[in-house]
């Protein structure tokens, strides 16, 4: 029989906090190494200017990846985020001549609504998330191209709030960066300290168990897809504000970048483990890598692809190891 001490110790070592710290460990270590290497090799890397650049450039993907994190925590996946981002940006740009408010509400609202459609198809029609969001990705991209006749739509200069969202500064910090950190802070608190957050983990852990424990699993899943749509929509309007235009082809491939960021951060695609803190690390890590590629400036684009793929694989393998070691303690 186990003595009283043993289970307590075992509990200590495998408690979710220790595991997730180690999971994140892989990405954090990689991030630190990348930053040190970067500042040693490139004079421009460790300047406030460059670091703010990295943050600003990745803030929109960061928002998308945050929505993806919620979805993945429930054990789902959202391939439509890139297309929803484009829909949002295009609508915002088209509505911008009627003022910022309408532009923002229209853009984010449309993306959220499409997120809800994803959620309904998944929970009501019982179609697998991969398929639903794949179809939504195709359809929403088509819609964005159709309403714009395949052209970019310039945002009206009247929509000052839209432009401010994309290009404004709060003190020295760009507005998108502020939004980015704010969103992650709220998400972190939500995931850790609110019922909604805990239920997201519960559903991802075992939907069946969550249901039998009396949690409204379907509504939660629906909410995460809506949230993912809303955050993609927010990223879309920020991007439209930043570029001064709504592009029907914006965000192409971002779904994979977002998934990569989430996974590199240490959130498991099987659901129930990970979180906002992990994703922010993942986003920054991938962002820094791109930044280093650019600062180097002489790596051919295809070698960049090879390096990115290998790097992604490497981080994930290391993480898997750490995680298993954490478990077997």
């Amino acid at each position: 029989m186990t003595t009283g001490m043993l289970p307590a110790l075992r509990g200590h070592f495998t408690s979710s906090r220790a595991v997730s710290l180690l999971q994140r460990g892989g990405a954090v270590v990689a991030l630190v190494i990348a930053c040190i290497a970067g500042s040693m090799r490139y004079y421009a890397f460790a300047t406030p200017e460059n670091l703010l650049n990295v943050l600003r450039q990745n803030s929109m993907l960061g928002l998308v990846a945050l929505g993806m994190t919620f979805v993945i925590l429930t054990g789902g996946i959202d391939l439509s985020v890139g297309a929803l981002l484009a829909v949002s940006g295009v609508i915002a740009a088209m509505l911008s001549k009627h003022g910022s408010l309408l532009a923002l509400a229209g853009g984010i609202g449309a993306a959220t609504a499409l997120g809800v459609v994803n959620g309904l198809l998944i929970t009501r029609a019982r179609i697998q998330p991969f398929i639903v969001t794949l179809a939504m990705m195709i359809a929403a991209r088509g819609a964005a191209l159709a309403v714009t006749s395949e052209q970019s739509i310039p945002a009206s200069p009247q929509a000052s709030a839209l432009t401010w969202l994309g290009r404004g500064q709060l003190g020295p910090v760009p507005v998108p960066v502020v939004l980015f950190f704010l969103a992650y802070a709220v998400a972190w608190v939500t995931l850790r300290y609110t019922r909604f957050g805990r239920y997201v983990y519960a559903v991802g852990d075992s939907e069946e168990a969550a249901r039998l424990m009396g949690l409204p699993a379907d509504r939660l899943v629906l909410a995460t897809y809506a949230l993912s749509g809303a955050l993609a929509g927010l990223a879309g309007v920020v991007l439209a504000g930043r570029l001064g235009a709504g592009q029907p082809v914006a965000g192409t491939g971002w779904e994979l970048d977002a998934i990569a960021a989430v996974v590199v951060g240490g959130t498991l695609l099987t659901g129930g483990q990970g979180g906002a803190g992990a994703t922010i690390i993942g986003v920054l890590l991938l962002g820094v890598i791109f930044n280093l590629f650019n600062l180097e400036g002489t790596i051919s684009p295809w070698w960049q692809w090879v390096l990115r793929g290998t790097f992604l694989m490497g981080v994930v393998i290391i993480q898997g190891r750490l995680q298993r070691r954490a478990r077997s303690h």
Binding site: S39, M40, R41, Y42, Y43, A44, T47, E49, N50, N53, R56, Q57, M60, L145, T148, E150, Q151, S152, I153, P154, G166, R167, L239, R242, L243, G244, A245, Q247, P248, V249, A250, G251, T252, G253, F290, N291, F293, N294, L295, G297, T298, S300, P301, W302, Q304
Partner: protein, 294 residues
């Protein structure tokens, strides 16, 4: 690491690198930079405006001396231009325009005239078919401005010939494989009705030619194919008689770009727009240029 302040560095923000034309453009710039002993730093935006803006910001952070920018599209690069301006780094636009004014937002534009390319293709086709043709248009990637411009110029031209009709427009994504499939399907549905094909680039034209041959057409005899770019495979196809003609879209911006940089450094006044010359290749001259084509 410390910055070597004496080194003159040029940054080049390429918008994508997935087709021979873009590769030739990058290569031309690299070769010219090497020839002149100037360091060239290249970034690749992978076809995304957002990434291109980020790339320019990174080049600024790296404190390059001049930025050559091959814009992903007209709209959307304003923040990049503004940031460069704020950092006092001159920007020269390469091959396409971007929203802004020469002299204030950027130094000058070294332009390809995509609309003109489309127009010249239309002109040749009109001459070949005596102003009477049923045309299949294979358009470029949806949402790409080159596609829009080349389509526009072509339409403007054939509008002057009442008997020239576009019977189908489908996208071939600037890709040989995609265009080949699309052309196969159109050959099925429209059959012998097709007498001409206009493709927005050579790659699609080459795919279309293969599809047409497979469907029993004789390109050059019963169907005329014209496209834009002037890549080597296209010139060879013209020489074989499969492809009718191609309007050059000269990717060799290297000499022009670095000449312009030199002039700028010397403080010479630059015009707002410098056009690169595009040649026209058809059966009569294709062979002689194959050697130097990309």
């Amino acid at each position: 690491a410390k910055r070597d302040a004496t080194q003159f560095v040029v940054g080049f923000s390429q918008m994508e690198s997935d087709n021979p034309w873009r590769l030739a453009e990058t290569k031309s710039l690299k070769d010219e930079a090497a020839k002149r002993g100037i360091q060239l730093v290249v970034t690749d935006a992978q076809g995304q405006t957002a990434k291109q803006v980020a790339d320019v910001e990174d080049l600024i952070a790296r404190h390059v001396n001049v930025i050559l920018l091959a814009p992903r599209e007209f709209e959307g690069l304003a923040p990049a231009l503004a940031a460069a301006k704020a950092a006092n780094i001159p920007v020269i636009l390469v091959d396409r325009a971007a929203a802004g004014t020469a002299g204030t937002d950027y130094v000058t534009l070294l332009a390809s005239n995509f609309v003109e390319q489309g127009r010249r293709a239309g002109e040749w086709l009109a001459a070949q078919t005596n102003g009477k043709a049923d045309i299949v248009e294979l358009s470029g990637t949806p949402g790409a401005s080159v596609a829009a411009d080349r389509g526009q110029g072509f339409r403007d031209e054939i509008a002057r010939h009442p008997d020239m009709k576009i019977v189908a427009t489908q996208t071939g994504d600037f890709s040989r494989a995609k265009a080949q499939g699309v052309m196969q399907n159109l050959a099925q549905s429209l059959g012998r009705k097709i007498t001409a094909v206009y493709a927005h680039n050579d790659e699609m034209a080459l795919g279309a030619v293969q599809a047409l041959v497979a469907a029993g057409f004789k390109p050059g005899v019963d169907v005329r194919v014209v496209s834009v770019d002037g890549e080597r495979a296209a010139l060879e196809a013209i020489d074989r008689g499969e492809l009718g003609a191609t309007v050059e879209s000269n990717p060799r911006f290297g000499p022009l770009a670095f000449d312009t940089i030199e002039k700028m450094r010397k403080g010479e006044k630059l015009p707002p727009k410098i056009l690169i010359t595009d040649r026209f290749f058809e059966k009569s001259n294709a062979k002689q240029f194959i050697g130097e084509a990309y």
